[in-house]
C-alpha cells in the first residue's frame, strides 16, 4: 500500500468522515478511510438521536452508523484501522504517517478527526473511571439500577443523558456551573418536569471520593460558596468535547482551543487539506452538520484533485 498514490485519504470514520467517504467513492476517487478506534466515533455513545431528519421516533447512534456503513458497502474504497501521527506535504503530495510506521500518500486529505469528551480535571475522576465515573450513560447506566448518581454539564448531551439515566437510577443530581442550561428548550422542559431529577445550579465539582468505587461527590455551591457532599454511586460527565489535533500544531491554522479553522468549502489553511465535523472551529456541533460538511469536503476535494490534473 505504501508507494501507492491515493486520490483521497480521509482520517476519521465518524459521521463526517463516513459521509465524505460516501461522496468520494461515488465520485470514483481512489479513497482510503482511516480510523484508529471503533467506527462511528462519539455518535456510538448516543442512545437516541431525535434530531436527525428521516428517522421518526429517533434512532440510536450505533444504528445510524451501521446504516451508513451498509450504504457504503455498495461502493469501492479501502479501510484501515490505524492511527495517524503526522501529516506532511511534499510538494503537492500529502504524506500521512501512521503509528505503525507506514507512510501513505494522497493527492488530497480530509481530516474528520472528531473530538473526545472533556475531562473535569478533579481528584478522583481518573482513578474511578470505569468504577463509577462515566462518560457514557447508555453503556454504564444499567449498572446503577436503583442508585443515586450525578450528571455534570448543562448542554444537550448532559440533559439528554440525565433523562436517559432516570430509566435505571432512583435519582439524578444534575450539576452545572452556570445558572442557566445551554441545552435546547425542549430538553430543559423535560428535565424540569422529571421528579427523579434534582437540579443543582450554579455549582462546581471539586472532588470524587470513595474506597474502591465512587461513593461521594464534593461540590461547591456557587451561590453560598459552601462545600457540599452528595452520596452517589456514579458520576456521569458531559461537559463538552475537545479536539485531538495536537499533532497538527503549527501545520494548520487553528483556534485557541485547537479546533481547525476552515472556510465554507471546508478548506483549511493548506491547499488540498480539508477538515469537517467536530474537529473544525464552529459554534454548533451536530451530526447533521458533520455529515453536511463531510459531503462539502469530499466534493471540494474532488474539484481540487481534478484541477491538479489540468
Amino acid at each position: 500500500m505504501s508507494g501507492e498514490l491515493f486520490d483521497l485519504i480521509i482520517v476519521g470514520a465518524g459521521p463526517a468522515g463516513l459521509t465524505a467517504c460516501l461522496y468520494a467513492s461515488r465520485s470514483l476517487l481512489k479513497t482510503l478511510l482511516l480510523e484508529k478506534g471503533p467506527v462511528g466515533g462519539q455518535v456510538i455513545y448516543t442512545d437516541l438521536i431525535e434530531n436527525y431528519p428521516g428517522f421518526p421516533g429517533g434512532i440510536s447512534g450505533y444504528e445510524l452508523i451501521e446504516r451508513i456503513q451498509k450504504q457504503l458497502e455498495d461502493y469501492e474504497y479501502q479501510f484501515l484501522q490505524e492511527e495517524v501521527i503526522d501529516l506532511r506535504e511534499v510538494e503537492e503530495v500529502k504524506e500521512v504517517h501512521l503509528s505503525s510506521g507506514k507512510v501513505l500518500k494522497a493527492k488530497a486529505v480530509i481530516l474528520a478527526l472528531g473530538a473526545k469528551p472533556r475531562k473535569l480535571g478533579v481528584p478522583g475522576e481518573k482513578e474511578f473511571t470505569g468504577r463509577g465515573v462515566s462518560y457514557c450513560a447508555i453503556c454504564d447506566g444499567p449498572f446503577f439500577k436503583g442508585e443515586e448518581v450525578a450528571v455534570i454539564g448543562g448542554g444537550n448531551t448532559a440533559l439528554q443523558e440525565a433523562l436517559y439515566l432516570t430509566k435505571y437510577v432512583k435519582k439524578v443530581y444534575l450539576i452545572h456551573r452556570r445558572e442557566a442550561f445551554r441545552a435546547t428548550p425542549i430538553l430543559q422542559e423535560r428535565v424540569k418536569k422529571n421528579p427523579q431529577i434534582e437540579i443543582i445550579i450554579p455549582a462546581v465539582v471539586e472532588e470524587i471520593k470513595g474506597e474502591d468505587r465512587v461513593e461521594k461527590l464534593v461540590y461547591r455551591d456557587l451561590k453560598s460558596n459552601k462545600k457540599r457532599e452528595l452520596e452517589v454511586a456514579g458520576v456521569f460527565i458531559f461537559i463538552g468535547h475537545e479536539p485531538e489535533t495536537g499533532w497538527l500544531k503549527g501545520k494548520l491554522e487553528m483556534d485557541e482551543s485547537g479546533f481547525i479553522i476552515v472556510d465554507r468549502e471546508m478548506r483549511t489553511s493548506r491547499p488540498g487539506i480539508f477538515a469537517c465535523g467536530d474537529c473544525v472551529s464552529k459554534k454548533f456541533r451536530q451530526i447533521i452538520n458533520a455529515c453536511g460538511e463531510g459531503a462539502v469536503a469530499a466534493l471540494n476535494a474532488e474539484e481540487y484533485i481534478k484541477n491538479l490534473e489540468k
Binding site: 471503533p38 462511528g40 440510536s60 450505533y62 484501522q81 473511571t129 468504577r131 462518560y135 449498572f143
Partner: protein, 107 residues
C-alpha cells in the same frame, strides 16, 4: 472463527483455569461502543489464536461475573493470566491499545 462465548457457569473452567491468557470482553447488546469494537475483538481472536483465548461475556445474561469484578462500565476488557486479572481496559479503545496490552501480558 472469532471470539468464544463464556457464561457465569463456565467462567471458572474457561477463563480462570485456562492454561493460556484469556481476554474477556464484557459487553451487552444495548451498548453501542461494545458493538462497535466487536469486529476488532474477533480479529484479535484470530490473530492471537493459540496464544491468547479471546472470549465475550454478555453482562445482561451473566450478571454474577461482572459483579464479582466490580464492573460498572462497558465495554470493559480484562486479561486474565493464571486465573488472575492482570490488565483492565475500560472503554472502546483502539486496536493498537489492545494489541499493546496483549503483548505486554505475553511478555
Amino acid at each position: 472463527m472469532g471470539a468464544c462465548k463464556v457464561t457465569d457457569q463456565d467462567f471458572e473452567k474457561e477463563v480462570l483455569q485456562s492454561p493460556i491468557p484469556v481476554l474477556v470482553d464484557f459487553w451487552a447488546a444495548w451498548c453501542g461502543p461494545c458493538r462497535a469494537i466487536a469486529p476488532v475483538i474477533d480479529e484479535l481472536a484470530e490473530e492471537y489464536a493459540g496464544r491468547v483465548k479471546v472470549c465475550k461475556l454478555n453482562v445482561d445474561e451473566n450478571p454474577l461475573t461482572p459483579g464479582k469484578y466490580g464492573i460498572r462500565a462497558i465495554p470493559t476488557l480484562i486479561i486474565f493470566k493464571n486465573g488472575q486479572p492482570v490488565e483492565t481496559i475500560v472503554g472502546a479503545v483502539s486496536k493498537a491499545t489492545l494489541v499493546n496490552a496483549l503483548n505486554k501480558v505475553l511478555g
